[in-house]
């Protein structure tokens, strides 16, 4: 692997002297990890940097970024590099030495790229996007960027409601990126050669299915409410539909991953078994915006696994997807992989398990039934509430799954719940306590073997998300969230070996504000950024008062966004962006939720008719 001469002259003073030794975990910034791609930026036509608005450890764990990095670099005319949000100490050093934020591989300042592509994963990363642009020497607002500045694009699940970011990004890519990225890169190459103006590129991009150019639209408000979206340009489509890669088996997938020096969040090889999820939990945005369920074949997965394990040297392979035990060929795949990797010290893992006996058996099989942790997500404490959210695991399923896991010798159980779900009552909270205490009791009864069972109960706050049946639901009031958390805390005090953790309520509140936000919130992002907000997903950075001041300063009431419960007929600020599921279906699901009725899994019984075109699971 030939290292190409590093470009950034200014950045080099960090690396050559001992300066980098002053920051924590300097290996975050080296860029020389094994399998990183080195090309000469002057030899390519399109120079792209994939930007992840969070720390290296989080961004490097993200599968989508790995896919796009490998895909873009497979094109000879493109060089794709990486950049992550710098930690606070590194940002201070950059500012002190007046060094612009630079890419990891060639250390080029962000302002000198053709394209900067942000991953939109989490609302609390938004101010880090502004900060990275700012540190990279790029004007934050699109309208302030000139011809010589990079185009700034965004993709990922939140691109389906990117309105709070609209003034800052030039375009958004909706849905699966594998095909759109290629089309955009080609368009960019041709446009760059033609020397035309930025507006012409944007006009061309708006013609690509799945591409949303926000500056072509003006939102209208009346009486403080969003009423419509006006098109400024005739050629801008009225509706932008999410792109879907229909044949996942033949879609691009990396044959090697970068191997970080650092111990990142998910430091392992990842196989994506399928995209989408058949279950349709009503609170889960991923369950609606990645439809339909599309699987890779076991043979293809095995072939990829062999390449990836050989080229990375990883000792763990994660069989990943939204609900891995739902993969139809799961047992066949595990058998294939076990044969392939026999004697090679490769550990298989299943990151997301349903609470059912089949999943527990699978987990026991691949991890030899020996200790180690296992995670279940009952989400709600009673059957009634689980029916409302369409989580179809029953109390018995959960208990027996937990007991099986305990019997198999697991000594750490993690349980995920949500607080403040629509229709939640006191009895549902009591149900969480009851369920956890029964599981803990089962752990104590375990016939004297091994260490006592440790149970970690994680309670997050429900956040209503765009493009889900709960987009019409308000978030629970902040004081009430705190009161219910306090109730749980008191109840859990008496449970031995059970640890209760929760998300900071202020964070979930902010997430809710932006998850159903409109373009007016952009001003708040600017204000919060100017006041020092960044890396807000980290509790040591998150400052709720700073945000309160930012809202106040810009005269925007966050409460109105978090607590709004629009009617079915009311226009919503994200409805020009379509995930493929119809509004009627979402409304119908919402009504069913209120009646406590469930909708079956897409593979069971018959299709629920979500409105998706060309769904392979429908019409069977």
């Amino acid at each position: 692997m030939g290292m190409v001469k590093k470009m950034g002259k200014k950045a080099s003073i960090l690396f050559n002297g001992g300066l980098l030794g002053k920051v924590n975990r300097p290996s975050r910034y080296l860029g020389s990890e094994f399998n990183a791609v080195f090309k000469s930026p002057d030899q390519v036509k399109v120079h792209l940097v994939l930007a992840f608005p969070d720390l290296y450890e989080v961004g490097m764990s993200h599968l989508g970024t790995k896919i796009l990095y490998a895909l873009a670099n497979s094109l000879p005319y493109v060089y794709a590099e990486r950049v992550f949000a710098p930690a606070a100490d590194m940002e201070a050093l950059l500012r002190e030495k007046d060094i612009p934020l630079f890419s990891l591989e060639s250390r080029t300042p962000l302002s000198r790229f053709d394209l900067v592509g942000f991953t939109l994963q989490y609302e609390l990363n938004y101010t880090s996007i502004l900060n990275m642009l700012h540190l990279g020497g790029i004007p934050m607002r699109g309208e302030e960027r000139k011809q010589q500045h990079p185009l700034v694009i965004g993709g990922g699940p939140l691109a389906l409601n990117p309105e709070p970011l609209a003034p800052f990004l030039d375009l958004f890519v909706l849905g699966d990126g594998e095909e759109v990225l290629l089309e955009l890169l080609q368009l960019y190459r041709d446009w760059k050669e033609s020397g035309a103006r930025k507006e012409e590129f944007l006009a061309g991009a708006a013609g690509i299915a799945g591409v949303y150019v926000p500056s072509f639209y003006i939102p209208r408000y009346r009486g403080g409410r969003f009423v419509s979206l006006e098109r400024k340009e005739e050629h801008a489509p009225a509706i932008v539909e999410r792109r879907i890669v229909s044949d996942l088996d033949s879609a691009f997938y990396p044959r090697s991953f970068i191997v970080p020096y650092l111990d990142i969040v998910h430091d392992r090889a990842i196989l994506e078994l399928f995209r989408g999820c058949p279950q349709g939990c009503r609170f889960c945005q991923a369950g609606f915006v990645y439809r339909p369920m599309r699987e890779r074949s076991p043979e293809r997965l095995k072939e990829l696994a062999v390449c990836i394990m050989e080229s990375t040297g990883y000792e763990e392979l994660s069989l990943s997807s939204l609900s891995s035990s739902d993969y139809s060929g799961i047992e066949e795949l595990i058998t294939l992989l076990e044969e392939e990797f026999a004697g090679k010290q490769v550990r298989l893992s299943l990151p997301s398990l349903k609470a059912d006996p089949f999943a527990v058996k699978l987990a026991a099989r691949i991890q030899g039934g020996i200790s180690g942790g296992i995670t279940f997500a009952p989400e709600a404490g009673t059957q009634r509430l689980r029916d409302i959210i369409n989580k179809r695991a029953t109390e018995d399923d959960i208990l027996s799954a937990a007991c099986d896991a305990i019997e198999a010798g697991r000594n750490h159980l993690k349980l995920y719940f949500m607080l403040g779900l629509p229709g939640e009552k006191e009895e549902d909270l009591a149900g969480i306590v009851e369920l956890c205490s029964r599981i803990a009791a089962a752990g104590r009864k375990r016939s004297g073997r091994g260490r006592p069972l440790r149970t970690t109960v994680s309670v997050s706050t429900f956040v209503p998300k765009a493009h889900t049946p709960f987009q019409w639901e308000p978030q629970l009031d902040l004081t009430e969230v705190r009161r219910r958390q306090e109730y749980l805390r008191r109840q859990f005090q008496s449970l031995k070996n059970v640890q209760l953790t929760w998300h900071q309520p202020g964070m979930s509140y902010l997430e809710a504000v932006f998850a159903r936000g409109d373009r007016r919130l952009a001003a708040v992002l600017e204000e919060a950024h100017a006041r020092g907000s960044r890396l807000d997903a980290w509790s040591d950075h998150f400052d709720f008062q700073l945000w309160e001041k930012a809202f106040h300063e810009r005269g925007i009431d966050p409460h109105w966004y978090a607590r709004s419960s629009p009617g079915y007929g009311e226009p919503l600020p994200w409805e020009h962006l379509q995930a493929g599921v119809t509004r009627d279906f979402l409304a119908c699901e919402h009504k069913l939720a209120m009646k406590g009725e469930v909708t079956p899994d897409c593979r069971e019984a018959q299709c629920a008719g979500c409105g998706l075109k060309k769904c392979p699971l429908a019409g069977r």
Binding site: M3, G18, S27, L30, E310, E315
Partner: protein, 240 residues
């Protein structure tokens, strides 16, 4: 079981990776190379990779040592070649030597390390300060101790400072420091530098030239053969 001792260098920007990161980097490189490592048993089997002495972040190492254990015999030269192919730029295996499995473990025999500090211009009063250090009976430094490293301890490191020498080499000057290292106690290069008048905007560049073990009353390289340490000057001419 076959045991091999790798002599490797960790240079350039790779001085910024921590010891833990270095361990992981070697482990995965060895796996990519398809080398049949010996693993411990258990739920989370670990390979046996035994490093001579951790190197602090920010310091380059010219001759570092690592023992690996293989299920099968491999030629030394072949190992060197296939491992080097899998290492990121900045890490390189310089030499591989088969070692008897029964020999004592590397960290248990490490005795000293030779550090080299380079200066563009010799800081004022450095020479006198070095002499002063060597002639004093005790040299006290603060160390973190206790739970979470929150308490401070005063420690005398004089016995760990084996030798210091300031040498002019062309345009630059170098301070050679032979310091005790390893499980029987030692001094860190930054502790010694902290006692000398070398402070500036950027810290002086430090690298570790060699690690020594005791053998028949002599300091010798863990690779068994040369270099044998007699004095800083001599090891200076035998080293790189």
């Amino acid at each position: 079981m076959h045991r091999y001792r790798l002599c490797f260098s960790k240079e350039g920007e790779l001085k910024y990776i921590s010891h833990l990161e270095l361990q992981r980097t070697f482990f995965r490189a060895l796996r990519r190379a398809g080398i049949p490592l010996v693993y411990s048993g258990g739920f989370n089997p670990q390979p046996r990779l035994v490093f001579a002495a951790p190197l602090a972040v920010g310091i380059e190492g010219r001759n570092e040592y690592l023992d690996i254990y293989l299920q099968q015999y491999r030629q030394e030269r072949e190992l060197e070649e296939i491992i080097n192919r899998e290492l990121p730029a900045g890490l390189a295996v310089k030499n591989v030597l088969e070692v008897q499995p029964g020999e004592p473990s590397l960290p248990s025999v490490v005795q000293a390390a030779l550090y080299v500090v380079s200066f563009d211009a010799v800081p004022e009063k450095l020479e006198a300060a070095v002499k002063g250090l060597l002639s004093s009976g005790s040299v006290m430094v603060d160390r973190k101790g206790g739970k979470m490293g929150k308490e401070k301890k005063r420690v005398d490191i004089r016995t760990y400072i084996y030798d210091l020498k300031l040498v002019k080499e062309g345009a630059e000057s170098r301070l050679y420091m032979l310091l005790a290292t390893g499980s029987r106690g030692g001094a860190r290069p930054d502790e010694v530098l902290g006692l000398l008048p070398v402070k500036g905007e950027s810290r002086p560049a430090v690298f570790r030239r060699e690690i020594f073990v005791y053998s028949a009353g002599k300091l010798v390289s863990p690779a068994g053969k040369s270099p044998v340490y007699t004095s800083i000057q001599e090891s200076n001419s035998s080293g790189k």
